[in-house]
Amino acid sequence: MAWLFVAAILLTCASILNYGFQKEHQAAHSNVEKQARLLNKLFASQVAAPIHFRDYFLLWKTIKTLTENSLHSNQPEFADFSLREAAVLDTNKKVLSHTNMKRYRLGTAYKPLPEDIDRLFTTGRNGETVIFRQEEHLLVTASPVVYENKMIGLVVTTVDFSVAEQLERQLIVKYGTAALLMLGILLVLYRWGRDKRVAAEAIASAKDNLQLILDSAHEGIYGVDMNGDCTFANLTCTQMFGYSSPHDLMGRNIHQLAHHTRLSGEPYPEDDCPIYHTYQTGEPTHIDGDLFWRQDSSSFPVEYRSYPIRDNDVIIGAVVTFTDITNRKQAEKKLRQAAAVFENATDGVIITDAQGTIVSVNQAITQITGYREDEVLGKNPNIFKSDRHDPSFFQDMWASLNQHDHWRGEIWNRRKYGEIFPCWQTISAVRDDQTGEIQHYVSLMSDITAIKDSQERLEHLAHHDPLTNLPNRLLFNDRLEHAIERAHRENGGIGVMFIDLDNFKPINDGLGHAVGDRVLQLVAERMTSQVREDDTVARISGDEFALIMEDTKESQDVAHVAAKILSAFEAPLQVDTHELHVTTSIGISLYPEDGKDVTTLVKNADAAMYRAKKRGKNRYCYYTMDLTDAAMERLELQNDLRVALKQNEFRIYYQPQYSLATGQLIGAEALVRWQHPKLGLISPVKFIPLAESTGLIVPIGRWVLHEACAKTKSWQDAGLDISRIGVNVAGRQIQSGDMVQTVQDVLEQTGLEPQCLELEVTESFIVRQTDKAISMLEELRDLGVTLAIDDFGTGYSALSYLKRLPVNKLKIDRSFVNGIPHDPDDEAITRAIIALGKSLQLQIIAEGVETEEQKEFIALEGCNEVQGYYYSPPVPEKDFVELLKSIE
């Protein structure tokens, strides 16, 4: 029976629904057609004038505007469809306008129309509209365009009424839903009874689960009703409050029990409490840093949140969750302390991450380096790099960090604005407790510039004399030590001088220490000015000074400097109003001759200094007496040489030269001699090198040239047969730069023909010269004089170089001639030189011929000229003149 009843109800509902659905469907279709007609009529009325006036642009704009308007959703009369296209055709079915003119061009034929519409071109009347259903939901509507009672066109619109279809579907949904709803209600009633029992069981189970969740929570959780009385509490809450069971809290006012006092200790009224506020207003609260009290009256800081409990939107209480933040507070305190230390430390602190990127710095870093915090954060500490350390320094640093998690040392860094400064730096690696991986690097940086400066000052003071700022004995010994090591490695020489002021004591005692100090300073300055930059002048003690000369080649070099120092004190010292004459006594020791260690050299120099004092002061003495004697002799000779020219002490000796072919005397070589008033005739071997080293060779050479030319000219004038005179030219003369002018002047002054003068230049000088000297020789040759290479065979001339030289003659060095006939090598060399000269079309003269065999040999080999003791030694002028006369 029940099922029959249900079936009857369902049938009735279905009938009602079907009736309603059909009615609405019919209404929807009727609406669409009505709207389509209306739209077409509107178009037709609007386009009549533009068509009549042939204003196609206005026509197009009108269609465009009407189309846009009809697509608006707020046009209720066109709500049930959308306009697909609108076409305006003329009476020939050609397009006048269209919603898509890119497809339907002006004046082109429109697509075929349904018959009912097509007939309108012929039978259309004003106001008539034809509707044609083209597809499922497309309607084509056509209306004639009439102007002044005449049809001038046709408007054809196509509308899409799938909107109406949608409405139909909505109807189906609406009525179908209603039917289903009724069925559903019946089912629900049936199940209601059965589910009621099942729901009760589910609620009970859910309650148990909830308690389990509450009790497993780490936070304390409790609930209160609108009076603030506890309605539930979890185990954690019970324990934190110091009770044994949640039942101990049930029904009790939690605020009065555990929240009655503020953090400051003042009483806490309940209606001031945020939790009270939550269950009064429904707003959740979050408080960090309040105080809860335990059963035993001890308190603990808490962070808590309270939320309202609602039942059907009615607040019935609140739930509170809280945690004990005692540990967190302590940790925060420690952190604040650490931060204070970090910020206020005077040493710079840099913290980087494991990759070395700076994550934190303190204020001191800015003071030390000049960089602001924002300028270094995110950067690598190598922004402080000074480039003063080589890569191995940093390799060692990292090796220490990797091995020991620590490094400390002195490092030079760079400040922001470029200044390099020394630091004492310690770097520590900080590792993660769990994984052991490096998390950070912490670096402490101390600026030790001041300390370094002090150290350097101390260092300087420890090694220098404060009065004169010269190195003191300590530094002197140290430097001498190093000099000896280097000289030993390089096989060099060192000169050590000890210099004592001869008459300092009376000055110091008589005029006072201030003057004495000033004298010492001036003495130091004068000495320093006489030595090379690499030499060391030191103040050993009192009025005693010392000097280290490194890289000395000969003992004379040291004597030369000693002589300069002595000369430096020829002029008096001016101290205030006093003109003070000070001399020095100098002792010299040489490495390695006089010692190979510091002590020995110093001792011997000191001894030599005392010897100098004994010998009369204001002089120098070598430790080795021979050297001293030789040096003194050289010095004396040098002094005498300076005055020799003035005092007319030079003489010229002449050695005749002969033609090997004819045996005739063809010329002579002029050789200078020195007639010393005390020492007698001094060989050129002794004084020429001295003249060259002092530069006196230039005036001497000029005198010799002039004298030789003058004499030769006078002999020629006297009718004597002398066609050529040979004069030696020293390298120094050519280097003086005015040789050409000198020769020219001499020839002019003496009247000697240039071709009668032969200048002899040593091969060893020529090969060392540049093109400048060559060009000077060319200039000399251009004067008309002849040029001969003297001592040929000893200078290592390159043949390619030789052929460029502007010379006329080669003079075979006597050393090769001397070996003839016993030394086959000398013979071979002599032969080769003769052959070479011949091939280069040069004259060859052999010098130093002393025997018949030598003469025969060179004659046989084709040598042109000869000179030597075999024929005649160099003779004084008087004897040479006699020789010339005898030839006559």
Binding site: Q46, D55, F57, W60, L106, G107
Partner: protein, 290 residues
Amino acid sequence: MTHIYLPNLKNLQLQLFSICLLLMPLASFADSEHWFVASGVLEADAQLVEDFTQYLSEQSGYPMKVFFAKDYSGLSDMLRKNPEAVAWTCGSPYVEDQKADGQQLIAVPLFENEPTYHSMVISLRGRPEKKLRDFNGQVLAYSDLRSNSGYVAPHHHLKLQEVNTDLFFKIKINAHNHVGSIEAVLGGLADVAAVDEYVLVEFQRKNPEAAKELQILEKLGPFPFTPIVAGNKVKQSILDKLQHTLLTMSTTRQGRDLLIRFGLDGFVAKDTSFFRPIEEMLVRLGKQVE
């Protein structure tokens, strides 16, 4: 300026009635004010022309009020009937009418610092035609029959290529203004158009996306730009003041603002001979140039 200003009315009959109203001689307007006539101004630019007119009036001391003509013929008509009026005309109507009506040349605007402009032949991008000569049998849109850049120059250009311009195009559509010509090409109504370079530049600036659909086929010119003229009864002293105001626009703040809004660089004084190139075109096209 070659745009028509029309009220925004949907009813076509009302629109036509408005046009008729505008064409009527409006002698009932105050005698103390003179007309400043402009043709083909878009609704959006109407305020600008109003502000310009006010500036000219204040600076020159010659009070003027704006009148928007339907087209250049209407503009010349206004000048003829109101010889104390001032107008911003086009080179072609000026050349055609200045002798007959005694129009007095005041100044020529500077566009991109030159007193000249071009006629730009445009079509839809992607079309195969490369020049105007390729549009035989197609649809042309133009702004005004008397417009130099919109009509005279392209026809002259075809004439030089020995084209019978009366038969060349299938249909010539009057788009009423240069922007209309551009829209007609964009909408597919016309296949090609020749438009004022100045107007095209402004259109491209304001409608960059739509402008991308266009392609410029040819650039005809340069031609003398649209002059500001006065009717034959405007005194020389007024002419001088008006000219001075125009030539010194860039020296005043308000003048500079107006120039910026116009997209112009100033005004320069020219004499009638400056428009000889247009005169020669019109003669070649068989127009009467007295």
